[in-house]
Structures are given as C-alpha cells and as structure tokens.
C-alpha cells in the first residue's frame, strides 16, 4: 500500500519484516476499525446498561403476565398477549410489540445519535480524522456498528422473551392469527424473522439518528432529534387526516410483520416495510455522508 512507497523512512523499525510474516493473521484495515468501533459500542458502560434494561424488561413482563393471565384473554391489551397464556412463544411477539413503541427505538437512538456527535463532544473526532481514519470510512463503520447494535438489541429482546415464555408458559404448536396452527419449529422461525424485521426497522431509524448525529456536536441533541422524529411519526401515523402521508412515515411499517402469522403468509406488509426501511437507510445515510464529508470539524 502507501506506506512502503511514500514513507521512505518506513513505518516502524522491524515492521516490514513482521509484515512479511503476517500471512494468516492478516486483518483488513477496515475490520480493525470496525472491531474497535464494536468494542466502543458494546463495552461502553452506558450501552451495556441499555442492553441490560432491554434484557430485563422481557423478564419483568413475562413474570407480570404470568401473574395476571389465566386462560385466554378477553382481547384487550397488546397484540398477541391473549395468546401468551396458551403458548409461551407469543411472549416474544407481545414483548417486541410493546418495546417497539419506546424502549427499542430509544436504545437505537442513543447509540446512533451518539455515533458522530459523541466523538465530536469527546474531542476524539478530530483525532480520528487526523489519523486519518477517512470520513466516508468512519461513517460506514459507524453505520455498521449501529446495524449490529440494532440486531443485537432486537434479538436480545425477542430471545429473552421467548426464553421467559418457554419457562413460564406452556409451549406447543403455534396458533396463527388466521386460527390455524404450525409446528413449534416453524413458529419459532417466524418469530426469529420478526426479530430480524424489527432490527431492519431499527437500522432505518439508526440511519436517521446517524444523520442527526452529523449535524451537531451535542449527542443529547442528536438523540433527542431522532426520538422526536419517532414520536412525531407515531403521532402523525395515528391521525387519519394524514392517511395519504402514512406510508411515508418512518414508523408506519414497524408492526407490519403480522402477515408472517397469517395462513397463507402475507408478505405484502413485510415487503412494503423493508422497502420503506431501505429507502430511509439510503436517504438518511446519504444525508449523513454529504454532511459529514463536507462539514468543518471545529470541535
């Protein structure tokens, strides 16, 4: 690469010799940065606390439901809750639906809003850029870490909830919304798919948070901005006068995975949702890129 050609003095004494012997241990530079970024996100005490809360809520809800539920529900409460008593697998869905309204978006907003603004406020951004980490490269790594965090938090929530469901409630064939049943393995696979779908929704939200994060040096501002967008979108989604705009709202398709629990499986909701998430990811990813690669870093 560059070093050997343009650095006549050589990178370090003995480095060339080691470089030759690297061979199997070769780590691509982007992966080094990505790994470092993951360490930053997943070892940060605040983020660990967030994940801890995300893992605790399904446990608490499971116990709560166990104490309050007996027999088929009366149709009230959150979706799928009426089926939890009959089949613990549904605890995963009931909890996910509940947590998609606040806790999961909150966690993702915190990590995404912190991505660039946090580095700027710690004063580490100028150091990274002077290394130089490369602005596009740094942004890509930040986005990748947000993707992983979204995935981890959704799988954590659903995983813990299903585990609690298995522990606290009977399990067996899974009754679909359509009233027919599928084997437990198929049901679990669909629950896993729902978790992945929710993670995709959170990634789209994460890209909004990332874009907000490039606009300010105050992480709290970026986090708040992303959360305000979530809340405004949820409110707008509930106003029928705006029904024409609903499909364009970032939160509109978050719960559109119910088609997976119909017979036959109705993919249209999931398709529309994934399309919407991809559009948001592209648009806000591009906004973040345009902003971050052209902005003056004065923090």
């Amino acid at each position: 690469m560059w070093t050997s050609a343009a650095s006549p003095t050589g990178p370090d004494s003995g480095e060339l010799a080691e470089r030759q012997s690297r061979g199997a241990k070769h780590v691509p530079p982007w992966f080094r940065l990505f790994r470092s970024e993951l360490r930053l996100v997943f070892c940060r005490p605040r983020n660990l606390a967030l994940l801890g809360v995300l893992a605790f809520i399904p446990v608490a809800l499971g116990v709560l439901f166990k104490l309050s539920l007996s027999g088929p529900g009366g149709g009230g409460g959150p979706a799928f809750l009426n089926q939890v008593a009959g089949n613990g697998v549904f605890l995963g869905l009931a909890v996910l639906v509940l947590m998609l309204s606040l806790f999961l978006p909150l966690a993702v907003c915190v990590v995404a809003g912190d991505a660039i603004a946090g580095e700027a406020s710690h004063g580490t951004l100028r150091g990274l850029l002077a290394v130089p980490a490369g602005r596009t490269r740094l942004l890509a790594v930040k986005l990748a870490s947000i993707v992983l965090f979204a995935l981890a938090s959704c799988l954590l929530v659903v995983g813990v909830a299903v585990l609690m469901g298995v522990v606290l409630f009977p399990v067996g064939r899974v009754t679909l919304l359509s009233g027919t049943t599928v084997p437990l393995s198929v049901g679990l696979l669909r629950v896993l798919f729902v978790a992945l779908y929710a993670a995709a929704a959170m990634v789209a939200l994460g890209s909004i948070g990332l874009a907000a994060s490039t606009l300010t040096v105050h992480p709290v501002g970026a986090i708040a901005a992303a959360l305000v967008i979530v809340l405004a979108s949820e409110i707008a989604d509930a106003v029928p006068q705006l029904s024409a705009a609903h499909p364009f709202l970032p939160t509109h398709f978050w719960l559109s995975f119910d088609g997976l629990f119909r017979a036959p499986v109705d993919w249209s909701g999931v398709q529309h949702g994934l399309l919407s998430f991809a559009a948001y990811l592209l648009i806000f990813g591009a906004v973040a890129w345009a902003r971050f690669t052209s902005a003056d870093v004065a923090s």
């Binding site: 050589g10 470089r19 580490t124 003056d296």
Partner: protein, 333 residues
C-alpha cells in the same frame, strides 16, 4: 495593520511567489491560505507558511489569532475558503490520506473516551490508521506510552487521568509511529510547571529524532526555549516568519545611562545629540539611539562633564518584538 508589515524583519511574510520554491524543503507550506467562517468572520487571512524540514517551528500568537484554525486546515479538519497548502510536499487536500499517516498531531487539547483506558484509547487511534501494521500495534502502543511515561497508568480509565497525564497521552498518539512531522497545538496548556517541563522535554526529544515539530503556543518563553523558527499570527494574519535570530533583529534600540546627574545627561542626549524619547527615571536616563553609535553618546557625555557611572544598550527583548508585532502582551507563564 499594514504599518506592522513594514517593521517585519527577516524574510517577508507575504511572499506568495516564494511558497512553491519553499515547498521543496518544507514540511509544511501554504500560499494564501484563508478561512472565512459562515458567520462572515475572517479567521485566517492569506497565510503563507513555510516550515523548513527539520526545524522546530513556533507558531506564536495571542489567543484567537487564528492559530488553531490554521492547524485544523493543515490537518484537513476544516476546508480553506481560499489558498493552497502542502504537507510533507504533497498538495492538499488530495494528498491527505497519504500525508497524514506520517504526521502526528495534537489539536486543541487531548480528546479521548473517558471510559476507556489510556491503552485502549491509543489502540483505537491506531486501529483507525489503515496504514498501521496491526501485528506491531501493541508493541508500538507500549513504546509510545513508555516514552510519555504513562506505562504504569496505561490501564487506568482515561477519565481518572490528571491533566498532565491527559496531555501526555495526547502526545503519545503522535508517537504511535515514526512521524516526519508532529503538529502540536498548545501542548502545555493548563499544565503545572512540572508538567510543562516534562512536555517540553518530550518535544525536545521528538525534535532530536529529526522530526519536524510545528508547535503552536501563546507563550513566548516556550517558543524561545525550544524553537528554531517562529511564525507570528495576529488577527488571522501571519505578521512575521523567520528564525528566532531574525525576530530579535539587530541590536538597534535604546541607550541607558546611569549617572548621578541625570538632568544634565538628559539635556545633552535630547539637545546636543538630538536623541528621541529621552526619559529620566531616578539615576537612569534612557533615549532611543537611532543612528548614533553608543560610543558617540559616551564620548559626548564625558566631554560635557557628565559623570557616566554606566552605559548600556540593552537588546530589544523578544517580548518587545512580539508586543510590537501583535500589539498585545503575553500571558505570563
């Protein structure tokens, strides 16, 4: 302000046509480098830097004179609104990814993640460098920590570091690899005298290795002690650039006469010799020498019967030069 330009000694600061030639043996050079912020403020106004390779360049100027903005531009953090610049002979900003790995830098104080250890923070910096060899990373990190004397505290949380340790860790990032140029922005800012001494020692070491050092400071003493070259900024403009000797200039200054009869001496200095700015304070009389030699002054005084207890022509201090250039005083160390 333009009148200030006239008093500049040494190499004229505003010589854009010299810049390309200078670049050949310059670690840093710029021509007409300017930055106007969106607010309309002209933070850096047409700066022509020439930092010779191997020099220790003191970038002097009061707070707010545009030093940090200039450094941010040199490191590609801020886009200049006009002008061009080169780092290690590579035109910027295209050469940024190739030049910057060979440049160590500390901009505006240390910035690290408080919940990571000093070692982990350095590891993160190193991981961001796509040209660094991961196989030698831990050895290089330990070496850098050792050089700044932080090996013992390497695994402590950065948040628990003292200010001096933080500053030293920041310098350690520029020691992670062998660098050809190190840019340090106010490296002793906020340090106690002990810490300041340590940091200055480090800078001397770095310079002794043959690395070009670009040191920004608002402390004249710091620059005087370490630097070979000086650039002086005032309200966004580079009002002087040259060696320390050039800044001091020839000794032309004042003459000070110690005598028991100051009134008579003043009469002769002001009248017969027609020196300007004659001042009497106690038993001392001073005046501007102008073109008259000190020997002549002594001779005339003696002839006129003034008992001369002592006569000296003190060199103009750097401080006076600096004040003259910038119109401001120093923060006293």
């Amino acid at each position: 302000m333009t009148s200030r330009d006239e008093v500049v000694f040494g190499r004229p600061a505003r010589a854009a046509e010299d810049a390309p030639r200078a670049a050949a043996n310059c670690a840093l050079s710029s021509a007409g480098l300017s930055k106007r912020f969106r607010s309309g403020q002209l933070a850096v106004d047409s700066v022509d830097l020439a930092v010779p390779t191997g020099s220790v360049y003191g970038f002097l100027g009061p707070n707010g004179s545009g030093k940090t903005t200039t450094i941010r531009m040199l490191l590609g953090l801020i886009q200049p609104t006009a002008g061009s610049y080169e780092v290690l002979g590579l035109p910027m900003p295209d050469g940024l990814p190739y030049a910057l790995p060979r440049v160590g830098s500390l901009v505006e104080g240390p910035g690290f993640h408080p919940y990571l250890s000093g070692r982990a923070n350095l590891a993160r910096q190193d991981a961001a460098d796509r040209t660094a060899n991961p196989a030698t990373a831990s050895a290089r990190i330990d070496a850098a920590l050792g050089r700044v004397g932080l090996l013992a505290a390497a695994d402590k949380r950065y948040g628990a570091y003292s200010l001096g340790m933080k500053q030293r860790l920041a310098i350690a990032t520029s020691l992670l690899r062998r660098r050809e140029l190190v840019i340090l922005d106010e490296p002793t800012n906020g340090l106690d005298p002990q810490g300041t001494r340590e940091v200055r020692g480090l800078i001397r070491q770095i310079a002794a290795d043959g690395t070009t050092v670009f040191l920004s400071s608002h402390l004249l003493a710091e620059v005087e002690q370490i630097c070979t070259h000086v650039g002086v900024m005032r309200t966004g403009r580079l009002v002087f650039q040259g060696t320390l000797e050039e800044l001091r200039g020839p000794g032309a200054g004042r003459v000070v006469v110690r005598t028991p009869r100051p009134e008579l001496a003043a009469e002769i200095l002001g009248g017969e010799l027609q020196l300007a700015d004659v001042r009497v304070s106690g038993l001392e009389v001073s005046a501007e020498l102008g073109s008259i030699l000190p020997e002549t002054v002594c001779e005339r005084l003696v002839k006129a019967g003034v008992p001369v207890a002592g006569l000296e022509t003190p060199r103009r201090s750097l401080e006076e030069e600096f004040v003259q250039l910038t119109g401001e005083g120093f923060d006293v160390d």
